[in-house]
């Protein structure tokens, strides 16, 4: 019989609603598990023990009173540190927001709470979601539960590590160029970036507004569907949030991929895929075929340009979005400034870390007079080309597949001094971000060291129902053991 912390979000809520177990028992189990693994992985910036217990007790009282508390009844969640929740801190992993207390709640989080979720903690991230290893957090490095010397990926490395280690069944991240999918891949969990506009970003601290999306990180595809179901849908507070009706993602998730065409992108190799990744992809395609899909080849000739486009478009938007952090209205203010201009310069220079400075500078450069056409204009033009190529590819295929990342988790410190090498981790995730497509990362096996590898599936805009059904079919074929190393991890914790 599995421990309570091993249960999926779906099963946890089912048992809590049927009063087989109490929300308080679930919260205690999650807190105990978190206390055991957190000294090893450092996934959280804050764990809210008391608030979680109080909230769980409230859920139990409401259930006892006959109330339907929702599909996430008693489910502990880890929130990425860039989501506003009234009365909670949100620092974006940055010194510049130290001390900030959110005065309002993000729509996605409000919906999780309405569905009965319990906030367990605030999880670590690369500063302002800029990074692929979580090492750009101003506060701490998070360790990969599969190999404590390896990075968890980023920027949602905290939620990914927390979910993988069994602290919570549901993590909430944000994805701008792969920040949900890449850490999900490196930590051996499922990570879903919904279609642009499927989930409201109201209350998400902005990085690049044309691609930012909120999404779930979970140990099962069904839980990802459940998380999306709860968060998706129109929001008057976010004009970029779509009014399209929300599908029933769980209802038909077991229907399989019989007869669907899965397109493998021909240019994957030229984008630099190492042999282990190629072998894993080949095996994944075999599994998809065995599940009844027809594998076809498609071309997206601009795929190798994805990183170049992304690091112009996203940094340009970031340079504008992060202008608001100036020491005036909230966050860190440098002491002793002689003038207003001095205050801006000093507060920003002290408050931002190196990667954030680099990206603000890169974006400022790309938008600056004399370089705008050659950089921002050019990147937008090639992006439109990529959009056309993807449109064409989706005429030949219902889904597109790539590896989620070129390889498994790399060592802590391995890429910190080479920003470009770090950026190249996002080569397969950035196209869906730039073009707004939904995409999901699903564990696809392990490399020779036993570290997780991952397959990315992409669908047409608002095609999450098909996407998740395919991901579920693939998950079934892979037969991935979601928790093998957690046992080892517990043993390591006991030894420590």
């Amino acid at each position: 019989m599995p421990e309570l912390w091993e249960l999926s979000a779906e099963e946890t809520a089912r048992r809590v609603r049927s009063r087989e177990i109490s929300a308080v028992e679930v919260a205690e189990a999650a807190l105990a598990r978190t206390a055991a693994v957190e000294p090893l992985i450092a996934a959280y910036l804050a764990v809210y023990d008391e608030r979680a217990r109080e909230r769980a007790a409230e859920i139990d009282r409401r259930i006892a009173a006959g109330e339907d508390v929702g599909p996430l009844a008693g489910v502990p969640v880890a929130l990425k540190d860039n989501l506003n929740v009234t009365g909670f801190a949100a620092t974006c992993g940055s010194r510049i927001l130290r001390g900030y207390l959110a005065p309002y709640t993000a729509t996605a989080v409000a919906r999780l709470l309405t569905a009965g979720a319990v906030i367990l903690g605030r999880a670590n991230m690369d500063e302002f979601a800029m990074g692929s290893s979580c090492e750009n957090s101003a506060f701490q490095a998070t360790h990969n539960p599969w190999d404590l010397a390896a990075v968890p990926g980023g920027s949602s490395g905290g939620p990914a590590a927390a979910v993988a280690a069994g602290s919570v069944p549901l993590g909430i991240g944000s994805d701008t160029g792969g920040s949900i999918r890449q850490p999900a891949a490196l930590c051996g969990v499922v990570g879903l970036k919904p279609t642009y506009g499927r989930v409201s970003r109201y209350g998400l601290i902005a990085f690049a507004s044309s691609t930012d999306q909120i999404g779930p990180l979970t140990r099962t595809v069904r839980d990802a569907a459940l998380g999306l179901q709860v968060m998706a849908g129109a929001d008057p507070e976010d004009s970029t949030c779509s009014a399209q009706p929300v599908d029933d993602y769980l209802g038909r998730i077991e229907e399989g991929i019989q007869g669907l065409k899965v397109g493998v992108i021909r240019e994957i190799d030229s984008a630099g895929l190492p042999p282990a990744g190629r072998e894993n992809l080949r095996r994944s395609l075999d599994l998809l075929a065995r599940a009844g899909a027809e594998v076809v080849e498609v071309s997206v000739a601009s795929l190798p340009a994805a990183i170049a486009i992304y690091y112009v478009v996203a940094t340009s938007e970031a340079s504008a979005n992060l202008a608001r952090f100036d020491g005036i209205r909230y966050g860190r203010r440098a002491p002793g400034a002689a003038s207003l201009a001095d205050l801006y310069f000093a507060s920003r220079s002290e408050g931002f870390g190196a990667e954030v400075k680099r990206r603000i500078m890169l974006g400022t450069f790309a938008l600056s007079s004399g370089y705008y056409d050659a950089y921002y204009g050019r990147a937008r033009a090639v992006l439109e080309r990529m959009r056309e190529e993807l449109d064409t590819a989706f005429r030949a295929a219902d889904l597109l597949v790539t590896p989620t990342a070129p390889g498994a988790a790399f060592r802590l410190g391995e890429k910190v001094d080479d920003p470009l090498a770090m950026y190249l981790n996002d080569i397969y995730t950035t196209p869906a971000s730039l073009t707004g497509l939904p995409a999901v990362a699903v564990p696809s096996g392990a490399d020779e060291r036993g570290l997780p590898l991952s397959l990315q599936l992409m669908a047409r805009p608002f095609g999450e129902r098909t996407l998740l059904a395919a991901a579920r079919a693939f998950e079934r074929e892979v037969g991935w053991q979601v928790a093998p190393r957690l046992t080892t991890l517990s043993a390591a914790a006991a030894d420590a």
């Binding site: 309002y104 642009y196 691609t211 909230y330 207003l340 801006y344 400075k357 937008r380 033009a381 090639v382």
Partner: protein
């Protein structure tokens, strides 16, 4: 194209960042390498239809503007609880003087 230290200094001023000499040297090298990488975009043909005149992001849905009416918003007192310095319901800032390029 590689970036010069002077260019990096100019960008830092536009970005309202003050770099240490060590940061200046490091960023000049790193940003130069990244910009060189980005220059590969010259090899790609722009989009066939739009010619790349798009402004931003995925295609927007039409008719999505917010209703034009006054609604309650965050009360001033709540907003100011996060302010580094406030007085009598206003934000306090240093004197607005001196060079913009401080």
């Amino acid at each position: 194209m590689a970036l010069t230290t002077d260019e990096v200094r100019k960008i830092a001023i536009l970005a309202r960042l003050r770099l240490t000499p060590e940061e200046e040297a490091r960023f000049t090298g790193q940003l130069g390498k990244i910009v060189d990488y980005i220059d590969q975009l010259r090899q790609y043909e722009p989009a066939v239809q739009s010619g790349g005149s798009g402004t931003a992001g995925p295609p927007a849905e039409p008719g999505h503007d917010a209703e034009d009416r006054v609604r309650p918003c965050l009360p001033r007192e709540e907003f100011l609880t996060n302010a580094p310095a406030a007085l009598d319901g206003f934000l306090v800032v240093p004197e607005v003087k001196g060079s913009e390029d401080a």
